[in-house]
């Protein structure tokens, strides 16, 4: 029952009409996702130079980054055209999902701990921004439910 409530709290703001805070908060997530991608690129070069990533592993990271960047571009275009009252652009949901896929299918499988940890931190910052975006959208639509979700106390 509690899980269903949490799932509902997460999904409702993403499909419902969104208020005026939605655009700034999604812009923040978009900027953070870009920062994460730039950081991943820097870390890949650094860790490859240090010998912690083999060239073939680095290539896997770079191939996996391509769809993240493509969704980043389309999400930004969609957000530029977005108006209050519309649902969250689906491209933005795809960008958030693609970062999760990148983390699960590529980063967590990197054998070198130092390289893996550096990349996990870069992705985690973007995921936290996404979490903030979801909670802010919830606060616009269901202000009475947000304190329980944030504070964990019912």
């Amino acid at each position: 029952m509690k899980r269903r409530l949490i799932l509902l709290l997460i999904l409702v703001p993403l499909v419902a009409d969104c208020g005026p805070k939605t655009k700034p908060i999604l812009a923040k997530f978009d900027a953070t996702a870009l920062t994460a991608v730039q950081e991943i690129a820097r870390i890949e070069r650094e860790q490859t130079t240090a010998g912690n990533l083999m060239p073939a592993q680095a290539l896997t990271v770079r191939y996996a980054l391509k769809p993240v960047i493509a969704f980043g571009q389309s999400a930004t275009d969609a957000l530029i055209a977005w108006q209050p009252g519309q649902p969250v652009p689906p491209e933005m949901l795809k960008l958030a999902a693609e970062l999760g896929t990148f983390l699960e299918t590529v980063v967590l499988k990197i054998p070198n701990e130092k390289a893996r940890l550096a990349l996990v931190i870069a992705v985690a910052v973007a995921q936290q921004a996404w979490q903030v975006a979801i909670i802010t959208m919830q606060s616009e639509q269901q202000p009475e439910l947000t304190p329980a979700l944030v504070g964990g106390a019912a």
């Binding site: 812009a27 870009l34 920062t35 690129a41 060239p55 290539l59 960047i69 930004t76 530029i80």
Partner: protein
């Protein structure tokens, strides 16, 4: 607030998040709203950033393919 200041502000919030500042405090910070024009300016800069990231990634892929494939 100019677009540059807005970007710095985004960077500060990101830094706070990475340091483990509770999300509830970040939400309070996020109530400092940007105007629609400032948000659009930030998004246009982010758009350019994505294009640059794609170019950098494609260049690096070419470099790494040359190394891996000998």
């Amino acid at each position: 607030m100019t677009a540059e200041e807005a970007l710095k502000w985004v960077s500060v919030v990101n830094s706070l998040a990475s340091l483990g500042v509770p999300i509830a405090k970040l939400i309070v910070a996020l109530k400092t709203m940007l105007t629609d024009e400032q948000v659009q300016e930030v998004l246009l800069k982010v758009r350019l950033g994505w294009v640059a990231a794609q170019q950098e990634n494609d260049t690096r892929i070419a470099e790494l393919e040359a190394i891996v494939m000998g």
